[in-house]
């Protein structure tokens, strides 16, 4: 197996394959980047006579097609894939360059972090994540199979989706959200200390991904511009409607415009599947937890002792406070029993919700 590019994804794939005992050849145009990934144990340097059967190109979107073409030429028997966040642009570039598409199939593991580089890599990055395989008509099912197997070996869930559909989908669930979070966070640039002192969890959540790497995202957004523009134009139309309503909030219809926008947001959120791929339908119990070592552990231990499986856990913190609240998601049928058990053990339940 040969991996070209030792950034977050290349190094993570290398680490995962090494765990499976696969012989991983690593390459990178940056000698120091390559050294670092090898130090982390993600693979070995190329040697004369290496004849990889599968090449995984993990370089920035801008240079993906060029590197794929070079790998197809250098390894005439190998299947080549890439992991770029956009799929139409590299495929078209390769087609235009006359590359052998019977040995290329693009893919995209839906896994990433706000942090980049080999230093942030982890072998478990792909576990349980969708891994899109961007099918096209020039490669046979049989020839493409090793890429699907790679996704499965790394614990990911392979999903077939053509390049155009992939690009439209990620524009909606990843690229547009990235830009919107960025645009919102940007407004904080000139914020007073007094304003940011009032920041709550809502602001933190909406702006978290705005700390992502600008260099990478310039490439992603540039390479998937058309679908992103389509979404952002529709968003701007909605924004203009809301702005119009807010500029004259007592005008007839203004409140209705704002209300319908908000209701549309409610409906949109409901489309997002929860953990385990299903829409969220857990009940929540909110428990007060002192901010002392071991408190949360004791809570979770006692939940385990009650024989209840916790589906999710969210901590709510308050700036300056020494206590927190733990919101525990459980199946609705065990909620009442768990609340009783915890109260019996002296925990303070401050809320319970279906």
């Amino acid at each position: 197996m040969r991996i070209v590019g030792s950034g977050l994804l290349g190094t993570s794939i290398g680490l995962a394959l090494r765990e499976h005992g696969v012989d991983v050849i690593l390459d990178d145009i940056s000698p120091s980047g390559l050294d670092l990934a090898i130090d982390y144990g993600a693979g070995r340097r190329a040697r004369p006579g290496d004849a990889p059967e599968l090449v995984i190109v993990c370089v920035p979107p801008d240079v993906t097609a060029r590197v794929v073409a070079a790998e197809l030429a250098a390894h005439p028997a190998a299947l080549v894939t890439d992991v770029a966040s956009v799929k139409v642009a590299p495929l078209e570039e390769l087609r235009a360059a006359g590359a052998d598409l019977s040995r290329y199939i693009g893919s995209h593991p839906m896994a990433g972090r706000e942090r980049s580089g080999a230093i942030s890599a982890r072998a478990d990055l792909f576990i349980g994540r969708p891994w899109v395989i961007a099918g096209h008509d020039d490669i046979t099912y049989r020839r493409a199979a090793p890429v699907e197997q790679l996704a499965l070996d790394l614990g990911a869930l392979p999903i077939e989706m053509d390049a155009a559909e992939h690009d439209r989908n990620v524009a909606l669930v990843s690229h547009a959200p990235q830009l919107v979070s960025t645009l919102l966070a940007r407004r904080l640039g000139g914020a007073t200390d007094s304003a940011v002192s009032l920041a709550g969890q809502g602001l933190r959540d909406t702006t978290r991904i705005a700390s992502s790497d600008p260099e990478l995202w310039v490439q992603i957004l540039g390479a998937n511009a058309a679908p992103v523009v389509e979404i952002l134009r529709a968003l701007r139309d909605d924004l203009d409607d809301v702005l119009g309503a807010l500029e004259n909030p007592t005008a007839p219809g203004a409140r209705r415009t704002i209300a319908e926008t908000l209701a549309g947001g409610n409906a949109g959120v409901a489309r997002i599947p929860g953990k385990h791929g299903q829409a969220s339908h857990f009940s929540q119990i909110v428990v007060k937890v002192d901010d002392t070592p071991g408190e949360l552990a004791r809570l979770l231990t006692e939940i385990g002792e009650a024989g209840v499986n916790m589906e999710d856990l969210r901590l709510e913190h308050s700036p300056g406070a020494q206590i927190g609240l733990a919101e525990i998601s459980v199946l609705p049928e065990v909620e009442e029993r768990l609340a009783r058990e915890l109260e019996g053990r002296g925990w303070k339940i401050v809320g319970a919700f279906a």
Copy 2:
């Protein structure tokens, strides 16, 4: 103490005051709403001869001034406050109506939930949260003191801020983020199953607050329209710049525009203070945790046994996966020791970051 309005905030304040043994008189124009809050133990019904020293008006923003004026008139010796999310509009309405402002001071506890109503109330809602006291020139320091004391009694952190500054600040950290999250979530309304199947944590975080109550938010946004419009107009200008760049991503300067927008987002996020009021400067350790009862509890117990105080905990889930990753924030000086200890106990560390 008299509380008018038995929604989320009124009931939560009632519950907290009852814990302190305070005699709480509850009132609500909805008899069934009032019954529910009394059932929850948030206070008692009004009786002839009640003479409250402090009245807390916890009704929707639209009717806040009217109810405050009625309470000022009905209880001529009482100090009256309110907890509405906007502060200029009620103050101006009261001033215009000739209300006795020497006995009124608005306030705003920065605490809330996506869920509303007495059913979501909790006595701990205010602990550690900022509680803005909107000072004005018609009330003496001494006369206003009980409102500050109320905030302190409920565990909140009182912050003095005049009404206009408050409204500008919450427009930035709360109202604009609410609308932006809504506008983004709205785009998911027509999303295909194939698209939402690719949703990750970024989309979940950016759209979480979009599930908030439209009826309440129409009032908040309507009552704080001007500062929200100012922020959203600036955001729209940035959006237009990015759209212009994305419509022709290879034009000179286009990539620079996108990069500078993204970098501006990075800078904005950095302005948000972390837990305990300081900018976040913890280190993170990411540990693999099987999705079986007791696993996470065991991890936290062993962190406690290592004598390390966990500053924050974030769980990462993957749709369809049966394992998760726990991202543990600790002080940088203990990170290395904790990672060693956990590995020694057989935990799989999949990442460690400064």
